[in-house]
Symmetry: C2
Subunit: 246 residues, 2 copies
């Protein structure tokens, strides 16, 4: 079984996606927030590549049924309903709604994976659920770290490495790991006992703390807190209910 | 002292280069081959972004004084004098010559750093010479891994981590490391006792062996084999003789 890890979204190419299962990682915070939103009963999430695209989507849909969500520089966008803190996505706010989601890094990365057979979203919060799902697929896997504005993010690489490590333990076949997958695995092995500390000390973790979002960090680092499997298909992210395709 | 590591050349931006000293790493093989060429007496090396640019350069210069060098898919380009194996760059061939150098990854990455205050080229072969040079600069440093066709390459990240590790030991000031620099440092710490094995098992190392270039790998992994300091300035790479700018 071949596993590739793209340490930044720039590394993604058509060739890497075609006939692959993609896994998008954005620990701080899109993966975490999308898990929270779906677990809180959101009907579906439409990831947008840009603020403009998010607004276009919203204009085409009935305003009662949707919420405009997203952030720039970690903060709420003017005219939007929700920003990108998992704490905002409560059942009384999101239940039954379609969310248009325009985050800086995670959303465009998810949209970029359109050519993959299927795309899952992963963070520490849904690690075991994602790994159990991936352990059943027989298609090569490419894990894509969303990073920050095209830059490498340590927390995403460590999370990708956590997936590689868990698959290595659960699969009987020998894994064929690329350089990126080997690097992510080693980074995870180094940080596995101190995930929250690593998240707090990462570049983006320190930035989020500097804008008053430090309360999100323990949530984003909390292993298996929200055991859902978000899957992106036909432009929408929903909870996967059926078995993954083989 | 701030040290950043770009794990792939896509991460480089104008902001990252401006007022920075850049260090370009391409262990397999441009950094190594350029060190070999300069140590063998080449007058200067003009890195080209593409084959077409290399040919344009060559057309504008006296053909007697130059050599057209480079590779695609690791092999000699038709009509070129030399490919990208350090073993080809012998004094009797390159002494006193201007080399137009068009490799797939290293050359365009070097050209990309035009906006930096100065650019050095580093591999394992000139590690201590590079670190001694960098230890004297007081400008923030950005180390750029050339990778392979925009993809992460383990051997470049480990080499970048070697530079970070050595600077950490030699500088008295506390280093301010980005996520990329921390990741590279950890990868180096893991592989430091087995550099040649890591190079041989890397994606690009295995590719080079598959096309019959396995004899280059021990050279590229040979610490301090060629202790020169190649510096890129005004479009040309030469051996640095003066003290670095502060």
């Amino acid at each position: 079984m071949k596993i590739d890890v793209c340490l930044s979204p720039h590394e993604v190419s058509e060739e890497k996606l075609k006939d692959h299962i993609a896994v998008v990682v954005d620990v701080l915070r899109a993966s975490t927030t999308i898990c929270a939103a779906l677990a809180a009963g959101a009907k579906e999430i439409i990831p947008a590549e840009s603020i403009e695209e998010a607004i276009r989507w919203a204009t085409n849909l009935s305003r009662d049924a949707i919420l405009l969500c997203g952030e720039r520089e970690g903060k709420l966008i003017e005219g939007f309903n929700l920003a990108n803190s998992p704490l905002e996505y409560k059942p009384k706010i999101v239940k039954g709604k379609t969310l248009i989601f325009g985050s800086t890094n995670g959303s465009p990365t998810v949209v970029k994976t359109r050519l993959a057979q299927k795309t899952y979203l992963a963070g520490f919060v849904n690690m075991t659920a994602i790994v159990q799902t991936l352990a059943e697929v027989e298609t090569p896997i490419v894990i894509i770290c969303s990073g920050k504005l095209g830059q490498f993010s340590l927390e995403d690489a460590v999370c990708a490495g956590n997936i590689v490590s868990a698959l290595k333990q659960s699969l009987e076949s020998i894994l064929d790991l690329t350089d990126g997958a080997n690097a992510a695995l080693l980074l995870y092995q180094h940080y596995q006992e101190s995930i929250l500390k690593m998240v707090k000390e990462s570049d983006h973790g320190r930035y989020l703390a500097s804008i008053g979002m430090q309360h999100d960090l323990p949530i984003c680092a909390d292993l298996n807190r929200i055991p859902v499997v978000p899957v992106f298909h036909d432009g929408k992210i929903r909870i996967q209910k059926d078995k993954p395709g083989r």
